[in-house]
């Protein structure tokens, strides 16, 4: 290969040939963040439109007392779907799309850490969302409210498949959210521009980082709750049935353990948009960057101590309620830190009222009001008065629409020139703003009064003459005004794309890296990756865009058809590896289709199909992983600026390691939720201690222990052998670890079945079975991973330097062993703790 630097045009052609996506059916194989990010946002907007139409149906029904626009059964489906679509199919995926699209550009990278995972997440989202909307069109939409409280959602009171659609569909979509969270965290920590230390990251990357970690910890409780409820509905194992030792409140705990952090998961990315957009239009750098980062970390933690404030009315002891009430008030402080930082930025700057700024002012008005009513409902006696009334509906819409939709629309106008290369057309955008702002306040400001006058949520109609008539009518008029405003916004976006003037580079005079790119950016973002020397890289180097295009910086010369970007040390931002990203592939699509088959099979009770779907998923996943890696130890290669770096397969802290660690964090959150559920049932649920206790065979326990501890031991010995260059010994020890894992899986799964009560008889037996199955499943997956490691060793993909497969397998086996030990301890101690004497 010639080392003569190519001209900018030739460099562009060479890079486009490497990074571009094939036309036609090749688009299905796209993994590039530009494409996947836009797909996410477009799809989320379509779901937003569907959710909006459902909202209009609700308002049409409630416009007049005794209205018969739709029957109550249909109304139940409509309001359930409105909440479900807006929360799960619009808000979170819109954030995912925005982050997918923006993060690499703002961090100075060419793509995300795991592009195929992004594509897989998108297909899961699209299929899962279509699955739920398809059910609605078929008339079997979920109808138990967007939070699916038990016992209403149990098979006794919801016998159709409506609730199953929600439980399975949302779990399927959550795969996408977990994938995105792993993707964003690994990317922010490892794929940044040279010199972009943590203290110099664009502020929005901090917001995305905190949000992603919150998703990793916050979503698993809901996934667990959905799995348990689906098991109860399908197989009769009681977790939420008080007659058999379960408790409906367990569902509420698991749901809100997810549901309250979810509010911040939705708000924080939007706040990141504000912290990015507002300083540009205030013409002053963001005041209080450091304090905002600290506030974000505080919010990330405090928001996990609020979930019980959704349950103040269920009869929890005063002191416990007090803890959650205090935390609910405390979280207002880091939120206020941000609000004051934004106000200070406005005060110190010379604000200009461009369109994005108008939407930000709308945000301030609406969100601050939502925050204030939030403090009101954090006060327990007040909450008891307005619980389940329209006051709460008004509050949550002020928070969510004010805190997410308005900043997002500001962001849409701000970044659309980046996406389309064209400038906004102002008149339509302003008209849309005023329609939405007036319409929204007409709808929801009055709804506070409707709630205070006693109107409960989720009623499909109400009698005339009790003071609710005119309030509901005006709310409905406001709702339709809002809808017209959003339609105008959509038209404006289309018009901008078609008729907007061509945008110059950096049209707003911003100082963050994405504006150094050509508009719209090419598939590879920057032809060379510029260094970062402060928080405002374009202020330091206003000509950075041209320097990058001229190939004056990192990775300017394409080679070997590699899709290259820089990997950095997480804290300092010094380049420590050359990341080689995978090519476009259809495997993510096939994997998501196989996953969809499993979910559909369970929904339709065709369990034999699961036996087909699971091997297909595993096969796709193995094919996916197998296609990556190197068969030779890499040597350092020049990366520009006189520096060199090792390709990532030869580096210990490569993104693949981070991916596994982050996945296990989410997994651990799910397991911790399961342990919480087990302890909750034992302490709180009626019908305990159980009538019969499980007796565990000592020999089975010994076999389980041998397998659980043997697998990581073999893995550790294999890794030690690999360090000494003995690849064959590593392969053999991996096989041994696979055998140990299999032993553990069989022994642990057999434990609760060996003696004692049938799992359907009591929540104790059911929970013990789920605990055992969790550990057994992990041991079985550890076996597959160990076999994969042995095969990789044999195929030449593993060496002392290229040790990701054995290290990740060991991490998994170690995690499984810890979970197994915790489960065995709990199962052994449970009878003693329950005060029921010794095991039979």
């Amino acid at each position: 290969m010639s080392m003569t630097p190519p001209t900018p045009i030739r460099r562009h052609r060479l890079l486009e040939a490497i990074w571009g996506t094939q036309p036609g059916l090749g688009r299905l194989a796209a993994v590039n963040h530009n494409i996947v990010g836009k797909r996410f946002m477009m799809t989320a907007f379509v779901f937003f439109a569907i959710g909006g139409i459902l909202a209009m149906l609700i308002r049409a029904q409630l416009a007049r007392p005794g209205h018969v626009f739709m029957p109550p059964e249909q109304y139940n489906q409509v309001f359930t779907m409105h909440g479900t679509v807006m929360m799960f199919l619009f808000a979170i995926p819109m954030f995912e799309g925005l982050a997918l699209y923006l993060l690499p550009k703002m961090l100075g990278a060419r793509d995300l850490a795991f592009p195929r995972l992004s594509a897989f997440g998108y297909w899961c989202y699209l299929l899962g969302g279509s699955f739920i909307i398809g059910a609605m069109l078929a008339g079997v939409a979920p109808d138990g409210g967007w939070f699916m409280y038990t016992p209403l959602s149990s098979s006794t009171y919801s016998p159709g498949i409506n609730a199953d659609v929600w439980l399975l569909g949302i779990t399927f979509v959550e795969i996408s959210a977990i994938s995105a969270a792993v993707e964003f965290t690994a990317t922010i920590l490892k794929l940044r521009g040279a010199g972009m230390a943590l203290r110099r990251m664009p502020i929005i990357a901090w917001y995305f980082l905190v949000t992603a970690v919150m998703m990793l910890v916050g979503f698993p409780p809901l996934i667990l709750g959905s799995i348990l409820l689906e098991i109860e509905r399908t197989f009769g194992l009681p977790f939420f049935d008080p007659a058999r030792g379960g408790d409906p409140l367990l569902w509420q705990h698991l749901f809100w353990l997810f549901g309250h952090p979810e509010v911040y998961i939705i708000f924080l990315p939007a706040a990141g948009v504000i912290s990015t957009v507002l300083p540009v239009f205030a013409r002053h750098r963001l005041v209080g960057y450091n304090a905002i980062v600290l506030a974000l970390i505080a919010m990330g933690f405090l928001s996990f101590g609020l979930w019980v404030h959704h349950m103040f009315a269920v009869g929890i002891p005063h002191m416990a309620v007090g803890f959650f009430s205090a935390a609910s008030m405390a979280v207002a402080i880091p939120t206020a830190v941000q609000i004051f930082a934004w106000l200070a930025t406005l005060l110190k700057g010379r604000p200009r009222l461009d369109l994005p700024m108008l939407y930000l002012l709308g945000f301030f008005f609406i969100f601050v009001n939502g925050g204030l009513t939030g403090v009101m409902v954090a006060v327990v006696p007040f909450d008891w008065q307005v619980h389940d009334s329209y006051f709460v509906v008004a509050h949550l819409h002020y928070v969510l629409v004010g805190g997410f939709v308005f900043p997002l629309m500001a962001g849409a106008y701000y970044w659309m020139p980046l996406v389309t290369g064209r400038m906004p057309i102002y008149h339509l955008g302003r008209a849309a703003f005023w329609l939405i702002f007036v319409g929204f306040n007409l709808t929801f400001l009055l709804m506070h009064l409707t709630g205070l006058l006693g109107m409960p949520r989720r009623v499909y109609t109400y009698p005339a003459g009790i003071g609710w008539d005119w309030l509901n009518l005006l709310s409905s008029v406001g709702g339709f005004l809002t809808a017209i405003g959003f339609a105008l916004f959509a038209v404006d976006m289309l018009m901008q794309r078609r008729f907007g003037q061509h945008a110059p580079r950096n049209p707003w005079g911003a100082e963050s890296l994405e504006w150094s790119l050509p508009l719209p950016p090419p598939s590879y973002n920057a032809a060379s990756l510029g260094p970062v020397e402060s928080r405002d890289p374009l202020a330091d180097r206003p000509d950075l865009g041209r320097e990058q295009a001229a190939g004056q910086h990192y990775l300017a010369t394409p080679r070997h058809g590699w899709m290259e970007t820089l990997g950095v040390e997480a804290v300092s931002g010094r380049p420590d590896q050359l990341i080689l990203l995978p090519q476009p592939s259809l495997v993510p699509l096939w994997t998501s289709l196989a996953t969809a088959l499993c979910f559909l099979a369970v929904l339709l009770k065709q369990y034999w199909l699961v036996g087909v779907g699971v091997p297909l998923v595993l096969g796709c996943a193995l094919a996916w992983l197998w296609s990556m890696g190197l068969r030779e130890d890499p040597a350092p290669v020049p990366i520009g600026h006189g520096e060199s770096a090792l390709p990532h397969p030869g580096v210990a802290s490569q993104p693949g390691w981070w991916g596994m660690a982050l996945l296990l964090l989410a997994d651990a959150a799910l397991y911790a939720s399961l342990l919480f559920g087990a302890l909750f049932l034992w302490v709180v649920a009626p019908g305990w201690p159980p009538p019969a206790l499980l007796g565990f065979s000592p020999s089975l326990i010994l076999l389980a222990l041998a397998g659980l501890l043997g697998a990581p031991l073999a893995g550790a010995l294999g890794l030690a052998a690999l360090r000494r260059g003995r690849v064959g010994a590593c392969a053999l020890l991996s096989l041994l670890g696979a055998g140990a894992g299999l032993l553990a899986a069989a022994a642990v799964a057999a434990l609760p079945l060996w003696h004692g009560a049938p799992p359907a008889s009591h929540a104790y037996a059911a929970t013990a079975l789920v605990l055992a199955l969790y550990v057994a499943l992990h041991a079985a997956l550890g076996t597959i991973m160990a076999l994969y490691t042995a095969a990789r060793c044999q195929a030449g993909y593993v060496s002392a330097m290229r040790d990701l497969a054995p290290r990740n397998t060991l991490m998994w086996q170690g995690y499984t062993a810890l979970c197994g030990l915790a489960a065995l301890l709990l199962l052994q101690l449970w009878p003693w703790m329950a005060g029921a004497g010794t095991t039979p």
């Binding site: 203290r199 960057y289 450091n290 980062v293 970390i297 505080a298 009430s325 405390a330």
Partner: protein, 115 residues
Amino acid sequence: MTLLRRLPGVAVATLAFLLWSSAFLLLYVAVSLGCAWGWDQPAALGLSLQRWVLLGVWAVHLALLGTLLAWSWRGTRWGSAEDAFRPVLATGGLGLALAATLWCGLPVLLASACQ
């Protein structure tokens, strides 16, 4: 102490709020288990065993966070916006977590445990 100074600010802030989480979780567990196991009867000095456990959990976390904050404060060097990043996150994080632990634990002094 040396380790604390070597840790990145984001790690110290995370550690600080993990301690807040630990206090919050243990207080919640102690209320639940204490009520389930009947520890809410007067035991010593007019207080129940449950109340003593709650006070103990709260005090240990406050002491730990207070000590870490004092250590962190002594070594703090404030500077320009970028230089102040670590101290704001480390010392500020410990201070905020201490305040949050103090605030969220107040019901231990004020509320009835099992009613």
